[in-house]
């Protein structure tokens, strides 16, 4: 602080602090709080009623998430699918990151890294459309399966929860791999060799050495992947169509139907669930926010 004062002067530091405060309070916290306030008010079609006696605080909007059968179904499915997507991304990302780290930066590892990265320079919508082509009724995968004689009729991948889950794993797996890769990279390779030298079989080395060391990376990878999957709009929209509806779609529909209050309550419920998931992850992996942010 002293250094900053010397460098920028009181006015400079004041300007910086004001800028940060404005950004944090007015642009982030403010709209969020407005949304929370909105969520606790009923929808009043007549603008004249707003601020009137009918405009009371209520939890009715939230109750709708859990009491309305369709809402609850979609909400719980979104949660369950996001957890599933997170687990699958972890199961793919963990060994992949480990192999990448252990192979060093030589030859084919670099190519593999670039191979992972390049698709992500393409817009998410385009990538999802590509998966639509792959998973379509007479798309690449179905044609291949039929040519191999593994199935006679095309399997319905699109417009199903399965299709959405596949798309979500693909869309967000890098957000799992990067934190995993960076924590694993900081593990001294001699630790792995030492465990092996002491007689540890393959799985024990991972259970005792690699996983405990990578916990912050696993936790932050899981959190980010879960949040992105639960909050994804475009992937379920394109791969799930009208049959596999995600909770984000319900939120969108409420806002679209001008019932901002209900939409806000839905959105807020999703945020709360995501926060609970973060806390759960932190408890499971016994890490603090500081570990994750590292």
């Amino acid at each position: 602080m002293k250094e900053a004062l010397q460098r920028f002067g009181a006015a400079g530091v004041g300007a910086i602090l004001f800028g940060v405060a404005f950004w944090a309070l007015m642009l982030i916290a403010g709209p969020m709080l407005l949304m929370v306030d909105m969520a606790f008010h009923p929808y009043l079609p007549n603008p004249a009623d707003v601020g009137g006696p009918k405009d009371v605080y209520t939890v009715a909007n939230f109750a709708k998430v859990f009491t309305d059968e369709l809402n609850w179904k979609v909400f719980s499915k979104t949660m369950y699918s996001s957890i599933l997507v997170t687990i699958i991304a972890l199961l793919i990302g963990y060994p992949l990151s480990f192999i990448l780290v252990r192979s060093g930066r030589s030859g084919w590892v670099g190519i593999l890294m670039i191979g992972l990265l390049i698709p992500f320079w393409v817009n998410e919508i385009l990538r999802t459309f590509a998966w639509q082509l792959l998973l379509a009724r007479y798309g690449f995968i179905n044609t291949m399966l039929m040519n191999l004689g593994l199935t006679d009729d095309p399997i319905a991948f699109t417009n199903t929860d399965f299709g959405v889950q596949v798309g979500l794993v693909y869309a967000y797996i890098l957000f799992m791999i990067f934190p995993l890769y960076s924590t694993m990279e900081s593990l001294d390779p001699n630790q792995v060799d030492a465990a092996r030298d002491l007689g540890a079989p393959f799985w024990r080395i991972h259970w005792d050495i690699v996983i405990p060391h990578s916990k912050p990376g696993i936790a932050s990878g899981c959190i980010v992947t879960f949040m992105l999957a639960a909050g994804s709009y475009i992937v379920p929209e394109l791969l799930g169509g009208t049959r596999a509806i995600w909770f984000t779609k319900l939120i969108y529909l409420q806002f679209d139907a001008i019932n901002w209050n209900l939409g806000a309550a839905y959105a807020f419920s999703l945020v709360v669930m995501c926060l609970l998931f973060i806390l759960l992850m932190m408890a499971i992996f016994r890490v603090t926010l500081k570990d994750i942010a590292r």
């Binding site: 092996r196 002491l198 005792d208």
Partner: protein, 371 residues
């Protein structure tokens, strides 16, 4: 004996580069054996082949007559102490020491007994619950040794484990390692570029250069009777004077040097006409006229470049010819050391028995000497 470790014509190639050229050596059970050499000489590669992390390209490694080829590091009766120790920072001291037993499925009670015994062995009783980062450098060192010994290896491999410690602690740990080895009777194979460590601790030393063993012998043999110019120059301080052999008989040889004709022991049987290097240790060279200098000695005269006082000894550096390194004379600070001033010419002498004639670097294979 039952658990002798044998390396027979062991070769390791990495692509076009040959790191180890046909090394053959037998280390009897209970020996403290060191591989000594500069970095890149292949000593670490040998260690990793013995521990099983890499496979030899050719040759056999046997322990107690059993071929170790194809047995992974987790199945070998060897334990490795890493240069950076590689203790597990997220585990307690006791868990570190007991780790090898735990993964072998040894029960909690028995494990506890072994850990306690190990803690006692390394004089860290009561430290079991400490975290690794609460230990000092020397304590970490001992925990690493205990962790390796807890699995009762037949062979303990040590990869320069003392290099991170400061000088005093390093010297202390040398004695401790040596004592520990005697007490446990386990074969210790020690890798180092520090000749002081190798000479001080080992029963036998193998001096390595460019993937080959230059010489195997006890510390005294290595120091007093080097067989190659590399060993003579790498182990300890040595004065080198180059020249051409003029006569060789009765185990002695004469060599014509820029300082005139000098005589020395000729264990390699070098013949007249061959290029040779005469090596003589600084502590075996005397100022002429001092005790021990007599008529049969070699004598040479040169200009004093500098004098370096080191406390117990003083080194006098004389201009050499044909070799960039000056001739060093080490004088003991016994109160009778004469004053020598820079720039003056001095006559020095040494006995032919204290000097040795060897072929120059690279005469046997390849080029280059110790850096």
């Amino acid at each position: 004996m039952a658990n002798d470790l044998e390396l027979i014509d062991v070769v390791k190639k990495f692509g076009d580069f040959t790191a180890v050229h046909g090394v053959t050596v037998t280390m009897p059970q209970g020996e403290f054996f060191s591989f000594l050499g500069p970095s890149g000489c292949g000593k670490t590669t040998i260690l990793r082949m013995i521990s099983g992390f890499i496979d030899p390209s050719a040759g056999v490694i046997r322990l107690g007559g059993r071929d170790l080829n194809g047995i992974g590091p987790n199945k070998r009766p060897t334990a490795l102490i890493f240069q950076n120790l590689a203790l597990f920072p997220l585990m307690s001291v006791a868990d570190n020491i007991g780790y090898g037993l735990m993964v072998r499925g040894v029960g909690k009670t028995e494990r506890r007994q072994v850990v306690d015994r190990m803690l006692e062995l390394i004089a860290l009783k009561g430290y079991g619950d400490k975290r690794i980062d609460e230990l000092s450098g020397g304590q970490k060192q001992r925990v690493a040794i205990a962790r390796a010994l807890a699995v009762e290896p037949k062979v303990l491999l040590l990869d320069e484990p003392l290099s991170a410690l400061d000088l005093k602690l390093r010297q202390h740990m040398r004695q401790e390692l040596r004592a520990l080895q005697r007490r446990t009777g386990v074969t210790f194979i020690y890798i180092t570029h520090d000749q002081g460590e190798a000479l001080a601790m080992s029963d036998r030393v193998a001096v390595m250069s460019q993937g080959r063993i230059e010489q195997i012998g006890t510390s005294t043999e290595i120091y007093n009777s080097p067989q190659t110019a590399f060993v003579a120059a790498f182990v300890g301080e040595n004065n080198a004077i180059g020249g051409k052999v003029t006569a060789a008989e009765y185990g002695y040889g004469a060599i014509d040097t820029p300082f005139g004709r000098l005589r020395a022991a000729n264990p390699r049987g070098m013949k007249p006409g061959e290029e040779a290097v005469l090596f003589v240790r600084p502590e075996r060279v005397h100022l002429a006229g001092q005790n021990g200098a007599n008529g049969s000695d070699n004598a040479l005269e040169s200009q004093v470049l500098d004098g370096v006082f080191e406390g117990p000894v003083a080194n006098i550096l004389l201009a050499n010819q044909g070799d960039a390194r000056p001739i060093t004379v080490t004088l003991t600070n016994d109160g009778a050391t004469p004053r020598v001033s820079r720039g003056e010419r001095r006559r020095v002498a040494f006995s032919p028995d204290d000097a040795i004639l060897l072929p120059p670097y690279g005469a046997a294979h390849g080029a280059g000497g110790p850096a």
